[in-house]
């Protein structure tokens, strides 16, 4: 089954390019460490999901590029075309002349309705090229105007028009110390709207990705391109084909459906995060070897202590002893906070996957009481190595990991809202104070729900 990707705004388009590039590069990587037949099945599955084919054999990304001003999409289209290996469809791009000005209201209330038909038509065309549709992958940032506002609008439309298809939104959480001054407003408006219309929110934080570039990849002058490549690597390790059952001979066919089924058991809890291990520069890779035991031990502790990468993990954090009553409402300010999970999915790729022991993840102490570990935890495997890593493990988690960042954004937005700063910029385009209040109410509810796990 295929996934149609919608890339929105500067962030969405810049990331989208890196994602397709990473997927393509990996699927054509010569060091697959598996049999030729295996490799071909992998390539074919990846292609079915993400690329369609043109007459001259060049794969075309199953993507629609949307932006309200032309600079970024022009750049993205030409970068892909220049690579000579894959490209975007000639008519898959919709752009306008004037951007959304970092204004969620403008993206949602002005650009949305104005360009609804054109954008949905483009998406429809892309859907028609698929034999069968797994769903939509929407890449957008929360801080700006187009990705956030228009992204929320488009997701709503997708819910109306394709009610049987799944929608996963890849959201970029901005740096804590501003990229955009009104980013907190834009973020809460986006999150509250997406919570109603999306099926799952896959969140990546710029701060976390930045740290990975600095500490693990050893990059001195980090550019957005570096950050996007780390992100693309993480997404690739999740979305590339894998088997769900030992001894199965077909790759799983419905990537989005499988992810949702495993990870989103309850609509109140939709926020997912990815951890990936190992992650390092190519130079370091040549000198490193790993065992599954070591990788999984680190990954488990990363989950429990809410660490974003394999360096600086807090090994003091332990899950609560089973049998004892939980410590009541988790305090957001408490130091040693254990990260409670609702559901986890581990994806293992590479040499000797069958030997990996995942007992540590099946501990019921890691999970809320309303799901048995057998339902809360799943594992997918494939022998085919991912992107030059002999062994790599990815964890997709529905847990409390975003609780603190979410609470912070809501707090900052609330403080700004209380002083009424910038509100006139939103009311100008039809987003009133009540809309803000609705968003705050919904998100406080989400914060409370995650807090009380």
């Amino acid at each position: 089954m295929s996934i149609v990707t919608v890339q929105l705004g500067q962030c969405g388009n810049q990331i989208g390019f890196e994602v397709f590039d990473a997927l393509y590069t990996d699927s054509h990587c010569p060091q697959g460490l598996c049999s030729k037949r295996e490799n071909e099945a992998y390539q074919a599955s990846c292609k079915e999901r993400f690329f369609s084919e043109e007459e001259n054999g060049v794969p075309v990304a199953r993507a629609v590029l949307v932006d309200m001003e032309p600079k970024v999409t022009n750049q993205t289209l030409s970068k892909a075309a220049q690579s000579g290996r894959w490209k975007y469809g000639q008519h898959s791009c919709f752009c306008q002349k004037q951007g959304s000005g970092n204004n969620w209201a403008y993206g949602y209330s002005v650009h949305g309705p104005r360009h609804e038909e054109s954008i949905m038509n483009l998406i429809q065309k892309e859907v028609e090229k698929c034999d069968s549709l797994s769903g939509f992958f929407i890449i957008m940032s929360m801080a700006g105007g187009t990705g956030s506002g228009l992204g929320a609008f488009v997701t709503q439309n997708l819910q109306d028009q394709y009610s049987n298809s799944l929608k996963m939104n890849q959201i970029i959480w901005p740096y804590g110390t501003g990229e955009v001054i009104v980013q907190n407003y834009n973020s809460i408006l986006t999150l509250s709207h997406l919570y109603r219309s999306s099926d799952a929110l896959l969140v990546h934080e710029n701060d976390a990705l930045h740290k990975i570039c600095a500490k693990l990849m050893n990059i001195k002058q980090i550019s957005f391109s570096d950050i996007n490549q780390v992100l693309a690597h993480q997404l690739g390790s999740v979305f590339q084909p894998a088997y769900s059952v030992e001894g199965s001979c077909h790759y799983r066919r419905n990537p989005l459906g499988d992810l949702m089924e495993n990870l989103v058991p309850h609509p109140e809890f939709k926020m997912l995060g990815i951890r990936n291990i190992p992650q390092m520069s190519e130079n370091s890779l040549a000198y490193s070897t790993f065992t599954w035991a070591g990788l999984l031990k680190h990954l488990r502790q990363m989950l429990i202590s809410n660490s974003k990468m394999e360096e600086g993990i807090d090994w003091q954090v332990r899950p609560p002893l089973s049998g004892l009553p939980t410590l009541g409402k988790a305090s957001l300010n408490r130091g040693l906070h254990f990260n409670m999970s609702i559901a986890n999915l581990v994806i293992l790729r590479g040499k000797d996957v069958h030997s990996a022991d995942l007992g540590g993840f099946k501990d019921s102490a890691l999970y809320t009481s309303w799901l048995e570990p057998i339902n809360a935890f799943n594992v997918w495997k494939t022998q085919r190595a991912f992107s030059k890593y002999e062994k790599s493990a990815a964890l997709v988690s529905n847990s409390q990991f975003l609780l603190k960042p979410l609470d912070m954004i809501v707090g900052k937005a609330w403080n700004m809202f209380a002083s009424k700063a910038y509100i006139h910029q939103y009311t100008k385009f039809g987003i009133e104070e009540e809309d803000f209040l609705d968003s705050f109410t919904l998100l406080e509810q989400v914060v409370a729900s995650y807090c009380n796990l």
Binding site: V72, K97, G101, N102, N103, A421
Partner: protein, 475 residues
């Protein structure tokens, strides 16, 4: 991509404007090696086939034929505009885009605003409509003028109301040169205060500049150039004050160095909208992020570096120095000390070989020494444009919405009150039809209101930051 139209009014406005167009051509020539008319150039220039008679000569693609500035030149005296039209830039201006008169406004806001305003209203509208028609998607009007005189101040602000009514969706960015303390125009306080009311009510964003600050910057540079220190040869094109490599090759006129600084300000302001980068910032984002309340739209600007030394290697320390300088009071384009006042919002627009990690590192480093208002503690807006300005490998424009503008306004009000109490020169204004004492009173009250807003914000400076109680949800 969008277009912008520059409206230059009065002697000061036109002189600055002239420098702007000169440097804009230089910048695009450096970037656009192939001579193709692309979207970046089209933001400020039209491409015209001059062989075609009349107006139908616009070419939208292909090779550059003849570039025409998207500008309207207005002056009630002919001297400056004539000089422009006879100078080396004459081909850049469309002769139909001018409005001139002979007598001038006599340094009288009322003459500029009321007399010439009504006299030339139709013509002005016509020229503006024409320039708008030539644009595919007009985003912004840049108005350049001075506050202390008669034409720039009076007619320049008359324009604002016209623009607001005729083109309500197009942004109005105003670059205003405020009179310095030693200004030789006696009535400049009257003109400035009357103009301020219009700026308060009809401008989207104002970039105040004052001549003294520009002059101080030039003195600093001269000191550097003439210091004769070893290894301090400065790349001529990199001087923020120079027009080396531009069209106007002749000996620079006295105000040219200062005007070039303002011209560079406008170029850097629009660079991220015209050229590509990893984090773009369009003009509508400036207003969105930097104007938290409609009246507080005065932005203090600073440009760094002022020059680049000839040695090529730029170590990180120098890059960080650029960021530090942007916040020092010596680099601001008006007399202001942002570090000791309260920030409402701050934008950092970086050009050239700078990446997001450099930005983040410097924000983290400088944040502790700056005070931000309680509801905007992380009030930073950033942009990264890949194309550096001519002669530099990187540059930074900082725009601050900061209470440090208050002293400028308070001084202006004081100078005004000194004159007004004695009714000095008032009759020159009151004899103009439509002007009454109440016009003055209203203008002062408008300014007082603005100052009071800044006062209230300043009062919160030393108060501890408290979080507002959040909504409590029944679980």
């Amino acid at each position: 991509m969008t277009q912008s139209v520059v409206v230059q009014v009065g002697q000061c406005g036109n002189q600055i404007g002239c420098c702007f167009w000169d440097l804009a051509l230089r910048e695009h020539a450096a970037v656009n090696q192939k001579g193709i008319y692309d979207e970046a150039i089209s933001s400020f220039f039209r491409n015209v086939d001059t062989r075609v008679v009349g107006d139908g000569g616009s070419i939208s693609k292909g090779k550059i034929c003849s570039l025409k500035a998207r500008a309207v030149l207005i002056d009630m005296e002919e001297g400056v505009v004539n000089e422009i039209l006879q100078g080396p830039l004459r081909d850049v201006f469309d002769s139909k885009q001018l409005i001139t008169d002979i007598s001038g406004s006599g340094n009288n806001w009322a003459v500029g605003h009321k007399v010439f305003g009504s006299l030339y209203q139709e013509q002005i509208l016509e020229k503006l409509r024409k320039s708008a028609e030539h644009c595919d998607c007009l985003q912004c009007f840049f108005i350049i003028h001075s506050m202390g005189g008669g034409t720039g101040s009076g007619l320049g602000t008359f324009l604002l109301k016209l623009l607001e009514d005729e083109f309500p969706e197009v942004y109005r960015f105003v670059t205003s040169v405020y009179p310095s303390g030693e200004d030789d125009v006696i009535t400049s306080p009257y003109n400035s205060i009357l103009a301020m009311k219009e700026l308060n009510e009809h401008a989207d964003c104002v970039l105040p500049i004052d001549n003294q600050s520009l002059f101080d910057i030039i003195s600093k540079i001269d000191l550097m150039v003439n210091s004769g220190k070893l290894g301090t040869t400065i790349k001529p094109k990199s001087l923020v004050t120079s027009s080396a490599g531009a069209v106007k090759k002749q000996h620079q006129k006295p105000f040219d160095a200062m005007n070039n600084i303002v011209a560079n300000l406008l170029l850097n302001l629009t660079s991220s909208a015209r050229f590509e980068g990893s984090l773009n910032m369009d003009l509508n984002e400036i207003s969105m992020n930097l104007v938290p309340f409609p009246q507080l739209h005065y932005l203090v600007s600073s440009l760094t570096p002022l020059y680049t030394l000839a040695d090529v290697n730029i170590p990180t320390r120098r890059l960080d120095q650029m960021f530090s300088d942007a916040f020092s009071k010596d680099h601001q384009l008006i007399r202001a000390d942002p570090k000791h006042s309260l920030y409402l919002a701050c934008a950092l627009m970086v050009r050239g070989n700078v990446q997001v990690s450099d930005l983040r590192r410097n924000i983290e480093r400088l944040k502790p020494s700056l005070q931000f208002v309680s509801w905007n503690q992380e009030g930073w807006k950033t942009s990264l444009c890949s194309v550096p300005p001519v002669g530099h490998s990187h540059s930074l424009l900082a725009l601050a919405n900061n209470t440090c503008v208050k002293p400028t306004f308070m001084e202006l009000k004081e100078r005004f009150m000194r004159l007004y109490k004695k009714k000095a020169h008032l009759h020159h204004y009151l004899q103009i039809e439509g002007m009454e004492e109440s016009s003055f009173m209203e203008a002062v009250s408008s300014l007082s209101g603005l100052i009071e807003e800044y006062n209230q914000l300043d009062a919160t400076k030393s108060m501890p930051v408290e979080d507002f109680p959040r909504l409590s949800i029944a679980v």
